[in-house]
């Protein structure tokens, strides 16, 4: 019986070997073609506006206003970049420096506050922990406009409107829940034994955190920092409302002001956009590995 089935199987196999292989090959190739088609479609959807932005930034005004639409500049030129870099209305250098200062300080402040708190959340059980965790979650649901109104009146009374201090505090605090959850995830992944070993060697808890845990969690800390930096760099609403002095203005608001200050010239505006986007994209690319998993670990608990 078994011999019969075996021989039957062998027979069918040899008879169908080649067509069967071809079918499998076709199936595989078909799957790849379909995947490339679909993935290409998604990439196209994602990138079309960005390609269009970059293309416009290299296009001369004359050809921008032509009925001919193509994704490569008809007559590539750097005129828009030169225009935007030399235009006193754009003030790109100053606002970039402003953004850099504000984002850096906000990020450092945020990390300093959150690293210790995240460590406490990771290693200790203490009364009030749940309350703290609840507040971190509720914080997400508070609408930005409501916070902004309360914040704005408070800052105005402290004479901190038109001042970076208020903005830095807002950015640093706005990132607290995410940073704490995220860093807690990193600290959780570091075995407690390592610190206990350090404490055996005479460190106290804080020294252990500083000398042992933080260095081990450094890639995570850097990812969190980059995420906070890019978040502050890209933020619009708070900067728009709190900073009205053009000399102190940050990049995202500056570009909108620049656009409103004249008849809309899309070439320079898009060139400005490209200049603003590049640092954010580069930083994000460096940290992208950690960002999604880190964010999700904060919420899937």
């Amino acid at each position: 019986m078994t011999a019969l089935t075996n021989s039957k199987l062998d027979q069918t196999d040899t008879r169908r070997q080649i067509p069967w292989l071809r079918v499998r090959f076709l199936k595989k190739a078909g799957r790849l073609v379909m995947l490339y088609f679909l993935a290409g479609l998604v990439a196209l959807i994602c990138l079309t506006p960005i390609i269009w932005m970059v293309k416009t930034s290299f296009e001369t005004t004359r050809y921008m206003r032509s009925s001919q639409i193509q994704f490569w500049p008809i007559q590539p030129t750097l005129a828009n970049y030169l225009n935007v870099l030399n235009n006193p209305n754009a003030a790109i250098g100053r606002s970039m420096l402003n953004s850099l200062i504000v984002s850096t300080l906000a990020t450092l402040l945020n990390l300093a506050i959150c690293a210790t708190a995240a460590y406490a959340m990771s290693r200790f059980k203490f009364r009030g922990k749940i309350l703290f965790a609840i507040y971190l979650l509720v914080f997400y649901m508070i609408p930005g406009t409501l916070l902004l109104i309360g914040m704005f009146v408070m800052l105005a009374r402290l004479h901190l409107v038109n001042n970076w201090i208020g903005l830095i505090l807002i950015y640093a605090v706005g990132g607290i829940p995410l940073s704490i959850w995220w860093l807690k995830g990193y600290f959780d992944s570091i075995p407690v034994e390592i610190e206990e070993g350090a404490m055996m060697d005479g460190c106290n808890r804080l020294q252990a955190l500083w000398k042992v845990v933080l260095p081990l969690a450094l890639p995570g800390v850097v990812a969190v920092g980059i995420f906070q930096f890019v978040g502050s760099w890209n933020e619009f609403m708070m900067a728009l409302t709190i900073i009205q002095n053009p000399k102190l203005q940050l990049l995202p608001v500056q570009i909108v002001n620049f656009m409103g200050s004249q008849r809309i010239e899309w070439g320079p505006v898009m060139a400005f956009s490209v200049i603003v986007a590049i640092p954010a994209v580069i930083l994000f690319a460096i940290a992208q590995r950690g960002i999604v998993s880190g964010m999700m670990s904060g919420f899937t608990r």
Partner: protein, 316 residues
């Protein structure tokens, strides 16, 4: 911990000190963040709610308690702010409901594609990542340029495909323009990140499950329905909730495309935008706060059940 207790000379007081030290350390560690949170989030939050009950118009005004006057001005009547408020409620629901649904559809498709293994996958992953990093403001500006009535590519392609009859259709930047073109931008802006969130959940599903289902004769759709969706339940719920909150409260796209220069397109404003315009454009801080509070109540009601679920698992 044994070391602490065997410290030489551990009389009663120093032991108390040790215990205090041991138990107070977590509090010292969270104190900075608590102080910052109280001063710069809890206080503005509560004072914002308080201002919604006061007559405050601009920062120099004294905040006089006026009961529910702001709320009644917004809710009762059919002209001015109450008209815009009713419009904005409907628009916020469209903006969030249709926006997040669109994002979810696109994100799920993207995640399913990127979850497959094929050569060159990382290139496509990068393509999806690039828009995520960019400031929303400049993406909104780019879309405004693409929507340009005369030279924009949106009109160009839609007209070429015969989908619109007027080659110079005005989509945005007009006082009467609607929220639909902005929802398209919001979906485009939101779906890549959502796709990454879904993808991270998808990668946690063991492949054995799919193989077992294949052996049992389940087709692609059955496998998607019974394995992918079931296994990703938590990820999907969290992703949806976060995106609902973000989309509901999102500001930049509408601000840039409907409220930043020229006249304000009220037919394209959502509640957060209406609150901002009321507070900072028309100097009615109190009323703006009232609109924000009502906006928040809706989103809180929507999300209450999740908070409860979340709390149960926090202190594990």
């Amino acid at each position: 911990m044994k070391i602490l207790l065997s410290v030489p000379g551990s009389d009663k007081s120093s032991r108390f000190l040790e215990r205090f030290k041991k138990h107070s350390l977590p509090y010292f560690l969270i104190v900075p963040s608590v102080i910052f949170l109280i001063l710069f989030s809890l206080y503005p939050f509560i004072s914002g709610i308080w201002y919604s009950f006061t007559s405050i118009g601009w920062i120099k005004d004294t905040a006089k308690f006026v009961w529910l006057s702001n709320y009644s001005q917004i809710l009762i009547g059919n002209i001015g702010i109450s008209q815009w408020f009713k419009l904005a409620v409907v628009q916020t629901i469209y903006w969030t409901g249709i926006g997040v649904a669109g994002m979810f559809f696109m994100a799920m498709a993207t995640a399913l594609i990127l979850n497959e293994k094929f050569p060159g996958r990382f290139l496509f992953r990068t393509a999806v990542l690039i828009p995520i990093a960019m400031p929303t403001v400049i993406l909104a500006l780019t879309w405004q340029w693409m929507y340009d009535p005369f030279y924009g590519i949106v009109n160009y392609y839609l007209f070429k495909l015969g989908l619109i009859h007027n080659a110079n259709t005005i989509w945005v930047g007009h006082p009467n323009s609607s929220i639909w073109p902005l929802i398209v931008v919001s979906v485009w802006r939101g779906f890549p990140f959502m796709a990454l969130m879904l993808l991270s959940g998808m990668q946690g599903i063991p492949t054995e499950l799919y193989e077992a289902a294949k052996v049992d004769g389940a087709n692609v759709f059955q496998r998607f329905w019974h394995i992918t969706l079931t296994q990703m339940r938590t990820t999907i719920v969290i992703t949806l909730i976060l995106n609902i909150i973000w989309t509901w409260n999102s500001f930049d796209i509408i601000m840039v495309m409907a409220a930043s220069w020229g006249q304000i397109a009220y037919k394209a404003l959502t509640l957060p935008l209406l609150a901002w315009v009321e507070a900072f454009r028309w100097d009615h801080l109190g009323r703006g706060a009232a609109i924000s509070v009502m906006s928040m109540l809706v989103i809180l009601a929507l999300l209450f059940w999740n908070a409860r679920r979340e709390l149960r698992s926090i202190n594990e």
